[in-house]
Symmetry: C2
Subunit: 717 residues, 2 copies
């Protein structure tokens, strides 16, 4: 029998709290002790017999080198705010409105050729002969009066963004840390040497925990506190750019990128929007570069007999775990901090030997948005349990190898409720892990294909955490799927055209017109539309949510309106009568009304659509038979246990699968996992109150009583 | 002194109710008696000394001719509903889903060349060799599987639409009336002869009241009662088409129109959407044709010593009173039925000798939407007063020559409240008319230019009545403007580029992205944007409502975002921080909160925008200084007396005009008109309760007590 009290747990140790460190390691069953940003381990901790993770941020904390070689720092393209020409010349101070502690203009001879001036009113690039750069200002000559102009330019990023965030949010006062660009030859030489020295100086370290690689996600601060965050995109590539990168790209791809490929009319190319072909090329270019450089670092680490784990956050750009080159890096482990189930699946499914979750809350006085956590007014145990309820159901579907925490361990002093809760989570985690080690839990014979622009590259995540993307329907759907007993895959539009629906039972497309999740102009592709149409006609199912398959230009707003039986009126139907409908009295599956929402303008396009719910005269949930298949439309979908249950029952209804084959509770607040080879049923109560749940299994029904939030492991005879 | 008890009133007489007719003519001060659709005048009425209007619908009531010459009937293009090809051939019955009593396929050799088959999935016209027409079905060969196909075809319209509406709504059972196309040479010969005969047979008629001309607005019925109205557009041109018209167009314009110019991917070209260049040409072509034919009819009528008035409704297409050719027709009068103030202004401003309003309710058992009027459960006096409150304020700004009613006079029996209300309205109307005869009321030195696609052609109206277009912000604004003491003009985008803002003080653009009122792609024109930018920068004012200047493709969604200081996030700003704001505690003008609404996604684009109101975190009313000018953004605007007052005060604030110069009440429910030459102040109470109102005038303040709804005419010393 496995030991469910110890192992697979990473504890943040803290010098000065050696007793506490060892006590908590015992309580939580840790086998690993790590340091954190802001904490150190002392010899007594390091020598206590635990494996040791040491955190390094490879591109940061080299200020001396950065000051000696300022051209080795990282850069980005920025655009000045548009300025209206009211005469024939216009003077622009490019960095105005940007945080002067984050950026510094790069007007080196290397950079200037990449600067651009745009007439944004006319959408026209201004000829370089028509503007000059002097005394910190661009002067545009021969302006068209009353047109708006912008300057696109390169800027050094002189403050590493995570450090900048911690300073500005938590009022740190230490030196601003800079960041090096590994593309700079001297920097790269330096970083390799630095890593070798580090490995030599830290013989006790077993695992180098890279936090993380080279390029931070994009985070652009403004000078005005009323718009401190000008732009933040957890998955965009702007911070990888430099003249050297642009030259290397041109050499490799045979064409040159310009500032506008990044600036994109001032909007930048956010991950939530479909990328241009140029951006796709550039991403591939960067991914290859990041993988190549990371592989070198991993080889250095391995050469010292250490393992290399990577923390998937912060400077992660270009190392997507589902990217083409990730496996080639040779990481020994992937660590993901998790608030949500989808993050657990993201980590668990990556092609890497060890998968580790870092639970929330982080051991820090304040949490999300500056709310109190480990300080007066905070309830860390409530936070921990809330996140756990999301993570647990995903862990029940697909286990990981390790869990852990991070931060200042001394903050746990006196937090008995929190400490006990983490202890219990450790026990449940270890029991689930042991069950998974023997077999996968029973799954419905249902494969769900989630269709969006990025496909597998952005499996499970949109970009960033749930709370950063929760305005998108899809993250709610992904979160629901993360704990359902179905197979889930993420496919791109190109994948669909290449036949990716062959093994799919249900296709999901959920987003807003023009975003990467709905797909935007991809839906102008007749082959794609025909492929999905055929899929449903021949018996597949389609779930569309929000503005699925929406694109301008066609005869319908939703390219799949003829399948769904609904379309969105954005004004084009002002004179057209809609099909009248009555709301069905009975629905073939549970409806979580609170999860639905109105997408404005939704109307039926066919008389044979069943409206299961509406609000304010607008259908919010519809069902339609199309050929041998079916289509469901959801105006909205907000994750909750009941919403997940609605999705499960919808999938059962659409596919005709027998829910008992994977275990089916009679309570939307309780989910289960069934391990048939081990005759073990796991039942999880999400409710804040006790519940008694009947679970239908292939052989009969089990009745299980659960305390609030409890996980019961039941041996079924 | 004018007689305010008699004159300028058109009474619907009714044979069989001669006493009543003469009694009501006396009570309401009628000088004209008319017949109506469904009523006749008897000799006793005709000979009672009143002028006589006789209603004729020139293209209707010629069923014998139509049956003898079915090819002289009117037509339209229709598109079959899209059908998915699941194999390589597809069979389509084109008229399926259309009301078979309204339409009949035209598969004559004349018509077939205009038929088209479209692959709507690919957006591709199918080569005529790839489809066949036989046995009432189009067979498409060599389909692309899972693409959708439509057939565009010509259909005869075999039931005049107003007659069809009356039959289907009011359960009429008489013969279905057909309609003739005056473009058909035989029909045109016949109609001229018929009109001559009619004039000869009706010597007692003084005024031929044409209801109306040739081509009805577009009204397409479906076969399924759940979508009876498939399409209705009060101002579109589809019902003017025929192979003969298309050939004549090609000869005149040098290029051929196709079915797709009308079908437009199945959406048809609704008036609420910006027209294609082809549609503009076609409208001009039809307007010239309608004017030419109408002029001939008017000349016939004049040759019999009669006058020709035209009722502006029903078969009015091509005779827009603000169109280029309207005045050339030579009508003696224009009659407009009015629910609203904007319709009053539309009529009053037309270039024609006599302007007459037909008040509502129509003397008919049921009114709008089948609600009871002159029957049990109805309150005709309430309806009449409600419409009057809208009309009166417009009449106070710009008088007409006549008012009147229509319908079955006997329904007034026992309706004393209604009869008294109409009598009172007649008195007020005559007193206003007399004041206007001497001078225009005082006006603020403010010219408002309402900017949209159609410009002056669609002055005041969008298309149809208020209740048919009340989903559009602009009709609410037009309605408010119709009673304000400002000069109003309607300008097109082309007008603006030609300098139409030179005499404007305030520019209004109000609509939804892509509609004709906001303007759609017109805003991609840099010259237009620059012209408006300059206008405001140099001191003009801009009021944008809803999604003003919105178009896809630019760097902002609103082309005037840089002026307004707000833009709409349709997802493109997902990663961009917005400017934080606080709502101003004091506003420089009255805010009618109930008139505002959220346009989703509105966000500030500049820090110097004053937010006067917001809702759900979205600004709904903002104010910004731009150069010497100002810009106001309204998320919504719903007409009410208070909303009109808000608009007035906004205009006063923006322009700095002194409200007293035109008279300014201290009560949003009361408006006034000031006739300085006659020292007469007219004060109108819109409230259902008495009010005492102070009116600021150039020379001092008048205090006026009013009963509910009362109009007071005050002589000011």
């Amino acid at each position: 029998m496995n030991n469910d009290r110890k192992g697979g747990f990473t504890l943040p140790g803290e010098a000065g709290y050696e007793e506490l460190t060892l006590k908590m390691a015992e309580k939580w069953g840790a086998d690993v002790i790590r340091d954190s940003d802001g904490t150190k381990l002392s010899p007594r901790i390091v020598e206590a017999g635990y494996r040791i993770y040491s955190t390094i941020c490879i591109i940061r904390e080299h200020n001396a080198f950065a000051q000696a070689h300022p051209d080795a720092q990282q850069q980005t393209f920025l655009s000045s705010d548009p300025k209206v020409a009211v005469g024939e010349t216009l003077s622009i101070s490019p960095l105005e409105g940007y945080f002067e502690e984050q950026f510094q203009l790069n007007d080196s001879p290397d950079a200037m050729p990449y600067w651009q001036v745009w007439d944004r009113t006319a959408g026209r690039l201004v000829d370089p002969s028509a503007w000059t750069w002097a005394d910190g200002r661009v002067t545009v000559n021969a302006c068209v009066p009353y047109h708006r102009y912008t300057v696109s330019f390169l800027a050094w990023r002189i403050w590493e963004e995570i450090n900048m965030y911690n300073h500005t949010t938590n009022h740190w006062t230490s030196e601003h840390l800079r960041q090096l660009d590994p593309r700079h030859p001297l920097a790269w030489e330096y970083l390799q040497g630095w890593l070798k020295n580090w490995c030599e100086a830290n013989p006790e370290t077993n695992v180098v925990r890279l936090t993380s690689l080279f390029y931070n996600f994009v985070w652009i601060f403004g000078s005005d506190l009323r718009r401190r965050t000008r732009f933040v995109d957890w998955a965009s590539y702007d911070f990888t750019v430099s003249p050297a990168a642009l030259r290397a790209f041109e050499a490799a791809y045979g064409y040159a990128l310009t500032a506008e490929d990044f600036i994109c009319q001032g909007r930048l190319q956010a991950t939530h929007r479909p990328p241009t072909a140029h951006k796709r090329d550039y991403m591939d270019f960067i991914q290859r570069f990041v993988a190549e450089k990371a592989r070198t670092l991993v080889e250095i680490i391995h050469s010292y007999g250490k393992e290399a784990y990577v923390f998937y956050d912060d400077s992660w750009v270009g190392m997507e775990p589902y990217g083409k080159y990730f496996a080639s890096i040779g990481f020994d482990g992937l660590i993901k901090c998790v608030f949500s189930g989808f993050e657990c699946r993201l980590c668990a499914g990556a092609d890497v030997p060890v998968h580790e979750l870092r639970f929330h809350p982080y051991l820090f006085p304040v949490g999300l948005g500056g709310a109190p956590t480990f300080m007066e007014g905070g309830h860390p145990e409530r936070d921990a349990i809330a996140y756990w309820l999301h993570v647990r159901r995903a862990l029940a579907r697909q286990s990981v190898d390790r869990i852990g925490l991070g931060g200042y361990l001394h903050l746990t002093i006196g937090q008995d409720a929190f400490n006990d809760a983490i202890e219990q989570m450790g026990v449940v985690f270890r029991r689930l892990k042991a069950l998974h080690a023997a077999e996968k839990p029973a799954e419905l014979p249902v494969t769900v294909a989630v269709l969006h622009t990025w496909g597998a590259l952005r499996s499970w995540t949109l970009s960033g955490h749930f709370h950063e993307t929760d305005g998108n329907i899809l993250i709610h759907i992904n979160e629901a799927l993360s704990g359902l007993p179905v197979r889930v895959k993420f496919v791109s539009f190109e994948d669909v055209k290449q036949g990716a629906l062959r093994d799919a039972d249900v296709l999901i497309n959920a987003g807003r017109m023009g975003d990467a999740w709905s797909g935007g102009d991809a839906w102008r592709d007749a082959d794609l539309v025909a492929a999905v149409t055929r899929f449903v006609w021949e018996g597949g199912s389609l779930i569309g949510a929000g503005e699925p398959s929406a694109a301008p230009g066609g005869d319908t707003r939703f390219a799949l309106a003829h399948v769904l039986g609904v379309d969105r009126d954005d004004g084009a139907y002002a004179c057209h009568g809609a099909w009248a409908y009555e709301v069905e009295e009975k629905a073939p599956f549970l409806i979580a009304d609170e999860a639905l929402a109105v997408t404005s303008g939704i109307r039926l396009t066919a008389p044979d659509v069943q409206v299961l719910r509406d609000a304010d005269g607008t259908p919010t949930l519809t069902l339609r038979t199309f050929g041998k298949g079916k289509a469901v439309y959801l105006g909205g979908f907000a994750y909750s246990p009941r919403a997940a249950r609605m999705l499960l029952e919808t999938l059962l209804y659409l596919t005709g699968a027998d829910g008992r084959s994977a275990g089916l509770t009679d309570d939307a607040q309780a989910e289960c996992a069934w391990f048939p080879g081990q005759r073990t049923l796991v039942v999880m109560n999400s409710a804040d109150a006790p519940a008694t749940v009947n679970v239908a299994l292939p052989g009969g029904t089990e009745r299980v009583a659960l305390a609030a939030h409890e996980t019961v492991f039941r041996q079924v005879p």
